[in-house]
Amino acid sequence: MNSLKRIHAALHFQPHDRVPVIAQVFGHAAMLAGVDLKTYVQDGAVLAACQRDALAYYDYDAVFALMDTSVETEAVGSVLDYRTNAYPTVQAYVFAKHDDLAQLHLPDPQCDGRMPELLKAIRILRHAVGNEVLVVGCVLGPMTLVCQLMGLQEALYLAIDAPDQFIQLLDFATRVIIRFGVAQLEAGAHLPIIFDPASCPEVIPVAFFRELILPRLKTICSTFTQAGAICNWLHIAGRTTPILPFYPEAGVAIANFDFSVDPASAMQALPQTCLDGNLKPFAFVDASPAFIADEAQRLLQCFAQRGGFILSSGCEIPPEARPENITALVQAVRS
């Protein structure tokens, strides 16, 4: 059974040879290869090479063509600050409260910002692993992209002070996401993971998510499915328990759950949805391989009866993680 078939089995709660394991290794792949993160996030060929090397080193079930959370906003027009061995950050947001939305540029993934480099990384990775290993692209979710277009604080204030303008911006973000995600699928991604940490109930109320974000996630997921995604994978970090029951309505087939969500609550909220999680990301930096192995075994036991589980971290494994801890995670499903 190869990685893709194993994940497919987990998705459908079918028997598999072992539980799939997906370490959320993004920038860590650069650290492992001794490559500057600044280069990794700007050069698709370098990113793909690092991801392939990390796959060979750890032998998990997926590779990620994922740069950072500023790819879309840069392509729209935000100015980024690139620093050595760090993810870029937004120096100047492209949108402010009284700006004219009609002036915002809908980016072309083939030529704007780093989008073409990300598509290049996808093409290289898919060519390299074919249908053996899951190739994951990445788009931001609508709430997070709005926050990246104008800043989190300003976006939240806009939602209250000028709700019509906020909704228009949310719709613009949805168009950006769909265009970029479909381009990723056309380049060969099996699916683009949808990252929407700003949709967490710790940031916005549940009713806000239900009324404003959920309908747009639904549109995004259905469009990705029509464009050939093998399924939709939603990643919202933090205490997501109150919004998990909405995921099936959005069309989500793999639901990430963070370390702050109890596995039993996640299973109860999503009885028929494949779950991935939920080791504490920082444990990969400061804990021991024995601790990671114990935590992983505890999770595997939790899901042993149910199935529909991918062993993973609750969020990104920090770039500076200890490699032996990631190895311990991967080995847990084989022991």
Partner: protein
């Protein structure tokens, strides 16, 4: 009548209704109430109710930001253009360290502390440890608060207390918070306290100031 007006202010602050909070503050002033009374019976009362609602499970950034903005607007009505006149229960220094440009959590804590009568010296985001410590030497605060969204700042955080102690600043406590830092323990970060929410940090500061 004053009570009714005060209740309207409290409710406006809890609801995060900035315009209403400003209006009610003006009305209370026009009715002859001293600003100290408006702070004690209005703003601090609202903060106490908000604190009770703001548990780890129910914490919601949007609501707390709106309330914080309304509180700061009311404070500006009471002390127009003169933050130095705010009543002070002590000084707190806040920063996000070098390499971390996320400052929303820090800004929320700043609003909460200011509303509860603390003087906040904000070193901003992307702040080098040495600048933070130099500010601590100058300001003699009760505590230094560090907000962190990314784990890569942790090695810097571990330097703060050691460096301050080396300079004899042993009485200044170090507290931390933020998505990355609350995954760790205070011992592993070499700080005195880690807060899950801004109100956790406020409670810790209150133990230091004896409030």
């Amino acid at each position: 009548m004053h009570n009714a007006l005060m209740q309207k202010l409290v409710q406006a602050l809890i609801d995060g209704d900035q315009a209403m909070a400003v209006t009610q503050t003006h009305q209370l002033q026009a009715a002859g109430l001293a600003r100290e009374t408006i702070i004690t019976d209005g703003i601090e009362s609202a903060m106490t109710q908000l604190d009770a609602r703001c548990t780890v499970e129910q914490f919601n950034l949007l609501e707390i930001m709106l309330a914080g903005r309304a509180v700061m607007s009311a404070m500006k009505v009471l002390y127009p253009g003169d933050a130095a006149m705010f009543p002070s229960q002590g000084t707190i220094i806040l920063a996000s360290l070098e390499g971390d440009v996320h400052d929303l959590g820090k800004n929320i804590l700043k609003m909460v502390l200011t509303a509860k009568g603390y003087r906040v010296v904000d070193c901003g985001k992307d702040c080098p440890v040495d600048r933070l410590i130099a500010t601590a030497r100058q300001e003699a605060p009760l505590a230094v608060g560090i907000s962190g969204l990314i784990t890569t700042v942790i090695p810097q955080i571990r330097q703060v207390r050691t460096k301050m102690h080396a300079l004899g600043l042993t009485q200044i406590k170090v507290m931390a918070g933020g998505a990355a830092l609350k995954q760790a323990t205070a011992a592993s970060l070499q700080v005195d306290f880690i807060g899950e929410t801004a109100f956790d940090c406020l409670h810790y500061v209150e133990t230091l100031s004896g409030s």
